[in-house]
Symmetry: C2
Subunit: 365 residues, 2 copies
Amino acid sequence: MSFGEPLKIGSTIGILGGGQLGRMLALRAAELGFDVHIYDPEPDCPAGRVAARCISAPWDDLAALRDFASHVDVITFEFENVPHESLSHLAALKPVRPSQKSLEQTQDRVIEKTFINGLGLATASYAPIIDVEDLTQAAEDVGFPAILKTNRFGYDGRGQVRIKTEADLIAAWEGLDQVACVLEGFVDFVCEVSVVLARSQSGATQIYDCVRNVHKAGILHTSHVPSGLSDELEAAARSAAQQIADALGHIGVLAVEFFVTPQGDLVVNEIAPRVHNSGHWTQDGCITCQFEQHIRAVALWPLADPARHSLAMTMQNLIGSEINTVPTLIADPNVSLHLYAKRSARPSRKMGHFTRVKRVALGVK
Amino acid sequence: MSFGEPLKIGSTIGILGGGQLGRMLALRAAELGFDVHIYDPEPDCPAGRVAARCISAPWDDLAALRDFASHVDVITFEFENVPHESLSHLAALKPVRPSQKSLEQTQDRVIEKTFINGLGLATASYAPIIDVEDLTQAAEDVGFPAILKTNRFGYDGRGQVRIKTEADLIAAWEGLDQVACVLEGFVDFVCEVSVVLARSQSGATQIYDCVRNVHKAGILHTSHVPSGLSDELEAAARSAAQQIADALGHIGVLAVEFFVTPQGDLVVNEIAPRVHNSGHWTQDGCITCQFEQHIRAVALWPLADPARHSLAMTMQNLIGSEINTVPTLIADPNVSLHLYAKRSARPSRKMGHFTRVKRVALGVK
């Protein structure tokens, strides 16, 4: 593998996707003196309004993609569902980091689970469902209760249905328009945790403190640091995440979500080959946040210090109408607030987040 | 005085001036979900590239100023030398915060010193020089050594000449094109410190830890926190800064620079009615940085926690060709870097800054 050169000061970074993750990436890139161009089908997207340029065009507009690529020095993305063809087209024109391997292994739930199991790491039991004949076999292999998930393009609990019987399964699959799915066995867990790390081209890795996550209705609600895991389990989670990032040859930030079973085992739930909601606390709790680490990694700049500077943090999302609590939140001096500048607060839409930080008593002036 | 309403979520903040201070204000405004419009005569200015809109027009272009005002909800500025007429024009159209009083008392060195002395606070001895007849009297009143400064529009040591004799004084004043000047007596000092605070419309004030500053060639070079001042002197500096902000009815961030004399007295050097270079450390060292506090104040949102979260910080500017040290700085994991995206590195131009943070040993996972 040949190594690229670090991006020059003042270079331009192209970001695919202009939602809140693209916006927060753009803001940190700007702190490092980079210009940012955004590509997103949505005009007036949150990231476009903090970028030097925003191209609004469909993902399959090859001329727009070429235009985008011709004005940037490196391309990255805020989400793993960028169409494969768009990315291939761009990768022929400019470096794309992380590379397509990181996407290929994580865009498709069956491929992802096969990859994870191949590393000797546990996942839920699962069975692919491509056509109607697969339903009975899947029910037999996985058992109930289970969760039916679309194989691709799911996020924040969308494209997921809980299943208790084979009749449920048939109905649910029809409700999902009979697209390719995976039936996952239900994992009994005491908590969910995640590890966010950054990995550079050279393989150097910086891992953030493990996070304990609480979901509501399939969407991340709160993240807590420290996680409360034992040292041993936290070390195992960090090690598993590192193993996954190394196997992908990942460049950039990557998050791994785990279930912790009552027996104290770790089961990998999902890999996100990008900055992740459960890493948002790092903006307010760490020397260097996940967004800056990602920009450094894709710029081929060395990673910086991910250490936590405060005792404890809780990050909480503002979903849909929870944005209406902002007047209360801004009056609380212990709240650090981040809003995403989305024009309307649809239900289950992430509108912002906030952290509460428990500071160290410095005991010095 | 009637109080305004807090800015609504997703409002637009207009910033006059698109340099690094405008850029860092814009980035923090974006974190709070605001849109930002920049007004700066310079096309391609640093802040314009992180804003939703940038108007490049001269300060006296009334149509452009009207256009700017008509698309924003509140107007603020990154520097105190915005022409008075432009600001009056804008203030008739939209709220401008801080108000003109903060500028009127600080744009002109003679007015500023009169204002400070009027509060019972010490300044250097000084004498105004308007025409040639004033030179002898000023020399007599102030004595030598002294510093001749242009009365307005000076920054970063520009428009300042050290004076040892009356012949020096005459030559220097001619060198400054005989504009209105002030002759300031030289203050013998052991160190220079500054206090940065934020004050809200209601008068609530949050004051950052005092900073010890080292200048080189008239430009701030490094800022150190803690300052090393005695508790008593630090309290006096904070109290003086608060007194100044209150007397101005200031809304937003304000910085006061002091000399500390060998006798342990404080002498006010300058007031900056805006975010200040000696407050840049707060980005990496505090729960809430000066840029966010300023945005909160001008949005009429409550101020947040200014507390320091780490033991000690040193902030250092990157001036001119010092930008070439960036490859070394980014390889140091203890350095937090901020670059301003200026297109060329002219001598004595501020290109960026970095902090080194001494963290607390958490002693916990």
